[in-house]
Amino acid sequence: MNARTLRVFAALCISLTALGAAAQEDGVLESAVVRNRLYKPAGHPELSLSVGLPVQTYLTAHYFFDVGLAYNLFDTFAVEARAGFAASRHTGLARSISESFLDREDKRVTDELEDLWRMNLHGVIGARWAPIYGKISLVADIPVHFQTYLWVGGGLGNLKRESVIQCTQVVDRAAGVCDNRTAVDDRGSATENYWVKETRVAPVVSAALGFRFFIKEQHGIRLELRDWIFKDSYRVNLLRDDWEAGNPTGEPAGSPGLTHLVQFDLGYTYSF
């Protein structure tokens, strides 16, 4: 598939060599093909607020709340700093695994699951490249101007991890209880759990593909598909006897890979 894709892209690149030649020869048309570029953000700072929802959940789910401050160096290029907080949780699947695994005595040596780190506070600085400017005709008389952009940047994120395998104090093995709940069926009454927890601060890379729809001069709506990427970290060759005794066990995985948090972001932008 890669070879095929490359061939298609190469053919499309070659087609660029005759960009708009016919129309430009006559001089009747301006070089700008979407004339009346109504909104020119160059030189303007902007403030944005966004909410991110998970596109796909596995063992964790994240809900991002970000604030961004950007400066448009050109109409097509801006630098932006984004910071915020992500509310996160284990999914129902993760809870189900944790409860059933407590009673799975046939698995006494195992590895931690991948992609269990959850991000909370985070901040990134990046570049936004918006080479595409266009219009959509919503109805006959309401054109909507938009930009399509790519966003790439990096920064730091505060991460936490709560195991769904290693319970240091099993309360009820058959019922899968590893917390101090007052009744077996009342998970909400627990104030503390005994799953192994870790925290760390790690470099984070973020990349996005988005649309910015202009609303009058100063307002805009942004729709993004954004990926937050950081290096995973987990332990392997864990011994049940050790972790249930509260002792550290196993060793770090050699090639833990990367964790991707793919979000659909909905944002508002105010341009000064």
Partner: protein
């Protein structure tokens, strides 16, 4: 790791989207092509409303274009204000009684009532000339025209090939395939479509295998059902169209397409992953084995963009959801009772010939030894039984990203 391929493909498609429209040349002057507007400008001496909306005055060509435009009266029906900024649009200024520079073009509007109207703000006859219904050269006029679509779809046939169809929501399954669609555009914004898709890769996801390996858990059989191929018929609507520029250099016209349909799809389920089989000190690699779980009703909804370049070609970037209900109570036609009987016979090392099985059970698939890998198929009976031991059902959403190109004729 898992969503990486999907987002990478999405991101990679953007330059292609931009590149593709390079094949669409900007509109030649005589055709009803892209928006023909005079550069935004305010009346002389009037300060700009906001610096970001300022535009340069156009350069007047040395020679008038050879093709005269139609009289302005015939174009009035196609001209309309497009942008808010154009609300202060001034009608084309009437031409002066006598040109002050050069000879007035034949299509230059004439001053109908010189004594009643306001004085023309330009006296250059060339600036009065209309191009595609707009006084392009008149710096005093800000006119925006929503022109016709460059390419009409009505009555056309469209053949779409999607070489890459990649599942983007694969929690327990992964699918990669190729699709071919035929679209007949009944009207400009409404079309009928027929489509087929073959997933040349369909397997359980790494995430599911990780759960099996590390915590002895796996998705229910119905939740990890694999779609081998699908065919559907439906409709497609294009409620929106627009255009965009890549670095101000070239124009592309695009449509938002929404589709929906219904059809049928063939499903299967993984019985046994790829394993190594050791016989008489020799190791054989046994490929993964899948069991037929039958044909299922298929629903399809989707949306995306169609970027047209030229009159006959387009690129399509779409996301489609293939929805199918899944209930796994048979594998290769054998139900739980069949598997129980087969397993009992296998344990007793008896032949399967005399067993009372359901008519649909393909018993041959669970009997014998593979001559190449020496794998005894009877060992798979217990795995098949596990799949149907607790009949499961689910409604699956197979959401995929479709990247393809089409030909219109």
């Amino acid at each position: 790791m898992r969503p990486f391929r999907s987002i990478a493909l999405l991101v990679a498609a953007v330059p292609a989207l931009a590149f593709a429209q390079g094949a669409a040349p900007a509109q030649p002057p005589g055709s009803p092509g892209p928006e023909t507007t005079a550069p935004a400008s305010t009346s002389p001496g009037e300060p700009p409303e906001r610096s970001r909306t300022q535009r340069d005055a156009p350069a007047v060509p040395q020679a008038a274009p050879e093709t005269p435009a139609a009289p302005p009266a015939s174009r009035s029906g196609t001209a309309s204000d497009e942008d808010a900024a154009a609300s202060d649009t001034t009608a084309p200024a009437p031409a002066p009684a006598g040109p002050t520079s050069g000879i007035a073009p034949a299509d230059a509007p004439v001053l109908e009532s010189p004594e009643s109207g306001e004085a023309p703000r330009t006296t250059d006859a060339q600036q009065q000339r209309l191009v595609n219904g707009a006084p392009l050269y008149n710096p005093n006029v800000n006119v925006h025209i929503v022109q016709k679509k460059r390419f009409a779809d009505e009555g056309k046939h469209e053949l779409v090939l999607y070489p890459g169809v990649v599942q983007v929501n694969g929690k327990f399954t992964n699918h990669v395939g190729t699709a071919l669609h035929y679209v007949y555009h009944l009207q400009e914004n409404f079309a009928l479509q027929l489509g087929g898709q073959y997933n040349w890769y369909s397997d359980e996801s790494d995430f599911n295998l990780e759960l099996i390996d590390k915590v002895r858990e796996q998705a229910q059989a119905a939740s990890s059902l694999l779609l081998q191929w699908g065919a559907h018929a439906g409709v497609e609507v294009t409620p929106l169209y627009g255009k965009f520029a890549f670095f101000n250099n070239s124009l592309a016209q695009f449509s938002l397409v929404l589709s929906g349909g219904a059809g049928v799809g063939k499903t299967r389920h993984l019985i046994r992953p790829k394993v190594a089989n050791e016989v008489d000190g020799q190791t054989y690699q046994v490929p993964a084995r899948f069991g037929d779980t039958g044909n299922k009703f298929l629903g399809e909804v989707g949306g995306g963009f169609r970027v047209q370049f030229g009159e006959s070609y387009a690129i399509r970037l779409e996301v489609r959801d293939l929805i199918y209900t899944a209930r796994v109570d048979k594998v290769d036609g054998c139900n739980l009772g069949d598997f129980e009987a087969l397993e009992a016979a296998r344990a007793a090392n008896q032949p399967f010939d005399g067993l009372s099985l359901s008519g649909s059970c393909k018993v041959a698939k669970f009997d014998g030894v593979d001559p190449e890998t020496k794998k005894n198929y009877r060992e798979d009976i217990i795995l098949g039984r596990d799949l149907v031991a607790e009949p499961s059902s689910d409604v699956l959403n197979n959401v995929s990203f479709y990247a393809g190109f089409s030909m219109l004729f």
